[in-house]
Assembly symmetry: none
Homo-oligomer: 221 residues x 2
């Protein structure tokens, strides 16, 4: 767990632009901005590097730092708290996308009782064994990326017949007012432009969807 001091340091680096491109800073500079000695700033940077939240390149005139994905995620999570503290008028978002065909393996996983019972507990419905794959628009993908908030549900993994099934993340949503859930496998890194949605019923049948059809996934933050 990151300390609030290190978080503040990370945030300052992000503020200086270290999210998109490496920025050149020195311990002295950073310490001055945050009100610490260069020694402390140096230690903070090292801590953050060890924690995997940023990458560094030491140079004669200072160091080049760039936040890692993990580091950005830490800030996103911290930011997400404010969405709960200051619930804005714009708490409902619509992700636009088109129906695509997946590999069909989703059905197998959703059908596993250990998963489905947890989905029922958290989402309030027993999911139909299958997923609707949706290819998001660029605008939708941006929204998808920002879903790592406190509303995210973690469905615990388990072992079955000597096989290990990993944790799965799930974010509640609706499609045409039908309560659904965006399922994000925890293991491999999933492309952000693609979402798999589970629902109480078969969405393809329910709305006569075929590949290429436009759908709108509503999420609340």
């Amino acid at each position: 767990m990151i300390s609030v001091d290190n978080l503040a340091c990370l945030k300052q680096i992000a503020f200086l632009g270290g999210i998109s491109d490496p920025i050149l800073i020195s311990s002295q500079m950073l310490g001055e901005e945050l009100g610490f000695s260069p020694q402390t700033a140096s230690r903070r940077l090292k801590d953050l590097e060890v924690a995997g939240l940023l990458e560094r390149r030491l140079l004669p005139q200072g160091q080049e730092v760039l936040l890692t994905e993990a580091g950005i995620q830490v800030l996103r999570d911290d930011h997400a708290v404010y969405h709960r503290i200051f619930p804005s008028e714009l708490d409902e978002w619509v992700m636009q996308g088109t129906v695509t065909s997946g590999l069909g393996e989703g059905a197998y996983y959703i059908g596993l009782e250990s998963y489905s019972s947890q989905f029922q507990k958290h989402l309030g419905f027993l999911p139909y064994p299958g997923t609707l794959n949706i290819k998001l628009t660029p605008a939708g993908t941006k929204i998808r990326k920002s879903l790592h908030s406190s509303r995210m549900i973690t469905v615990s993994g388990f072992e079955l017949g000597g096989r290990t099934f990993g944790d799965v993340l799930c974010y509640p949503c609706t499609i045409e007012h039908v309560p659904c859930g965006i399922v994000i496998p925890g293991r491999s890194h999933y492309p952000d432009s693609l979402v798999e949605v589970i629902a109480p019923k078969n969405l393809r049948e329910m709305f006569s969807l075929v590949d290429g059809d436009e759908v709108f996934v509503h999420v609340t933050m």
Copy 2:
């Protein structure tokens, strides 16, 4: 200046609901949530009170705390930093709505040279003399309400033939990637659930739209 530790404490209280109503907490509880001892939590609360960031009422079973205006402002400022860090994350919004018929008077106004030349200057196109009326969904209406930003364009009013034509507000948007503009008459109060859109061409013809058709208005904030 508030320390990052006290800020984290203040934020946690806000997260627990201490912004709108007093919440009942104990030092032990708060310390547990933030990862330190009840003594430290107690001290933090006292510090925050002394700093004027929250009000307390000590009770036998704990204390009732409520953030002051100053305390809320501190959090708002901290939140604002994230707007700088993640500037264009969720900058594109899609308002969903259905095509409706207006009174047809929009065409008259848009056709006036004094208006249309200003639209051309600000939006980059000479508008087709007519407006597409769109009845927004509740989610879309929320987005519409939040459009009063720096991107809003003011088209100046004028006098013509002894008649006064008022200022008109305009917000750039796109429909199916076609650059458009949401027109908001300055005078009377317009219902937020309805938008009038101008475009370089006749949108109804362009996309074969009839009343009741769904359209998606993209705006950037």
